[in-house]
Symmetry: C2
Subunit: 373 residues, 2 copies
């Protein structure tokens, strides 16, 4: 057995253990989208709530009881049909600072949630908006964010239909936290299923990576570093729409590469189908200012959050068509095929480096980038 094979076996053994939430306290890592987050969701939240997972958009067909826990309400048959094609998702946004090059918390809160729907193959229809505001927040800051929300919703062609506002004492929040929930209609062209991924499939990235997280880190001004990096926050439905048009049922599954970056998303894609994913470092689009800033910050762009990039797995024969269709969409000009699906190593991601070496691209353990979304 080679050293690499032994290492893979060890990682596999550790990773196949059921996640258990054993921490005594919540730490920043639990919010980072890596291993600790997975432990919190799979070891506590999902089992307690009787659901298989919690972070993705939920297809409401699950309300018929298939694949869900014991607490599923027994809906009469006609109800099952009519909620069948809806999807629901929610996200809280706690990004610090609330404004950064390319966006702000309000724009992010709209795009983040409509993108959760989009990568589930659901066209966004309606949003709800809930604000937790810090006492003393400047009215101008609030006004700017409400206007950013309205503009982003209009750009994403989605209506904010309901909302709520709470205020907490100075210091008990950080300007504002924003929670949006999105309702979407599952597109009939989409037949997405994470378990349908098979060896030979191709991995497509919809655009250049690492921009959002890098822009937010730089906006904090903690580093004496000025680089022309803007958040990529944008609504992804037009890109998904183009992809569905171009390759339809040959599109296996998509995920938006937010917290934890594309490294985390690739791991989440490899797991349910129990396949290996190999990505070629040289093919992953990363803009030079991001490469430079990440090197100085000591972070890997593969783990940096994006807010306008998704990873898609497509059948091998449509990979070129998928990339060509994406490149026609604004913001996806750098879409690229970056890797392929293999039989093994099961449920694992390997990065083929530019120098010919290979390394495991695992989930994050700590949290190098807190409060990025």
């Amino acid at each position: 057995m080679t050293t690499e094979a032994r290492a893979l076996e060890l990682i596999d053994r550790v990773r196949s253990r059921p996640a258990a939430f054993k921490d005594a306290q919540v730490t920043m890592a639990h919010g980072a989208g890596g291993k600790a987050s997975r432990t919190l969701v799979e070891g506590l939240l999902a089992p307690a709530l009787g659901v298989a997972t919690l972070d993705d958009a939920a297809y409401l067909r699950r309300l018929d009881g298939a694949g869900q826990g014991a607490q599923v309400p027994a809906l009469p048959a006609p109800e099952r049909e009519t909620v069948d094609d809806l999807a629901l998702t929610t996200d809280s946004f706690v990004v610090r600072p609330i404004r950064f090059p390319g966006g702000s918390i309000g724009k992010l809160a709209v795009n983040g949630t409509v993108n959760d729907l989009a990568v589930s193959g659901a066209r966004p229809l309606a949003l709800t908006l809930s604000l937790v505001l810090e006492e003393g927040l400047a009215a101008d800051d609030l006004r700017a964010e409400v206007e950013a929300i309205a503009a982003a919703a209009a750009a994403a062609d989605v209506q904010v239909v309901a909302g709520d506002t709470k205020v907490v004492e100075r210091g008990r929040c950080d300007s504002m936290y924003v929670t949006t929930t999105g309702l979407g209609r599952v597109d009939p062209r989409a037949s997405l299923d994470a378990r349908s991924v098979r060896p030979g499939d191709r991995v497509v990235v919809s655009g250049s990576v690492g921009e959002h997280g890098t822009a937010v880190m730089l906006a904090r001004g903690e580093f004496e570093l000025d680089a022309p990096v803007e958040s990529d926050t944008r609504a992804l439905w037009p890109a998904v729409d183009a992809l569905l048009d171009a390759v339809g049922p040959s599109l296996r599954v998509m995920r938006d590469a937010t917290r934890g970056g594309i490294a985390t998303v690739l791991n989440e894609l490899a797991r349910p189908a129990d396949v290996g994913v190999v990505v070629h470092e040289a093919r992953i689009p990363v803009r030079p200012p991001v490469v430079g800033a990440c090197e100085i910050l000591g972070i890997d762009p593969m783990y940096v959050a994006n807010e306008g990039v998704f990873v898609a797995i497509v059948a091998p024969d449509v990979a070129d068509r998928a990339v060509a269709a994406l490149r026609e969409v604004e913001g996806c000009e750098e879409a690229a095929e970056v890797g392929e699906v293999r039989d093994e190593p099961q449920a694992m991601v390997l990065l083929q480096t530019a120098f010919g070496g290979r390394r495991v691209l695992d989930l994050l353990v700590g949290d190098p980038l807190p409060r990025i979304c």
Copy 2:
């Protein structure tokens, strides 16, 4: 013109001005559900987002463009029909402390949102759950709240289908903030419309008032006062279901009496139909320990938040039937008819005191009870 008439005219003139959000900063009062909250919603949020109102559950039939602003997506006709009977609502919960006699933030977050749906005549189907956690939160506290959420969801016969978790640094939150969004199906028996209220209609309260807010205030331990008061937090769909069964289309409109208490809700009911509401103080059910505690705390139970009480306006001929039906439901044993709708004073609520006097029951101006939900 009598003094009362002059006073009413003055109030009317002030209140009919369009709400403008002119404050320089967000204050605790903006989160209290009174006048400042209304200014924030009507003067900033709703106009910017192009909606008529924001705080109530939204009927998704509004997505067809009727009654909404310019940003309503133009859905193809078949879509309009299929989302026609759904309702969507959202609420953030920031109650302090997170546990109090009779409930906790988790239970509250489920019941609060399913109740928004219920009083809109929509049977709750699915919930989303988003947590903002404070770094350092004890895992046992988190576990207890997740279990409270699961138990409350099971009791309300609703499934949590999607979720999100964020963590912020110690001090940037207060243990946890919880946002829930609820999707419900509008019951075919319900034909609720705030503008359908007419003179002669009766005002029904579903149970004794003032318990939730009083219990939370006492739980803070800031007052050396110990009274046997528990939060009334409970799911209201069974009560709404019974009421719809008993009086059907004679039920004009309902509202749950949360922030701002029944005084605020009565004002919200009087406004859209431009009617006067007269309530009789002596008929409003308030339990003796609540009366006692509120007297010592210097607050009026009419303005104290409830989490398991709603106000319904019904046609005069079904008032007795409505009260009788409610009294059969657990938690609504003290339901009572407490007042009636009159031609005037328009858009205003008068309280007929136990001593024979009358006073205007206006919206709250400040916030005597911050972070009660």
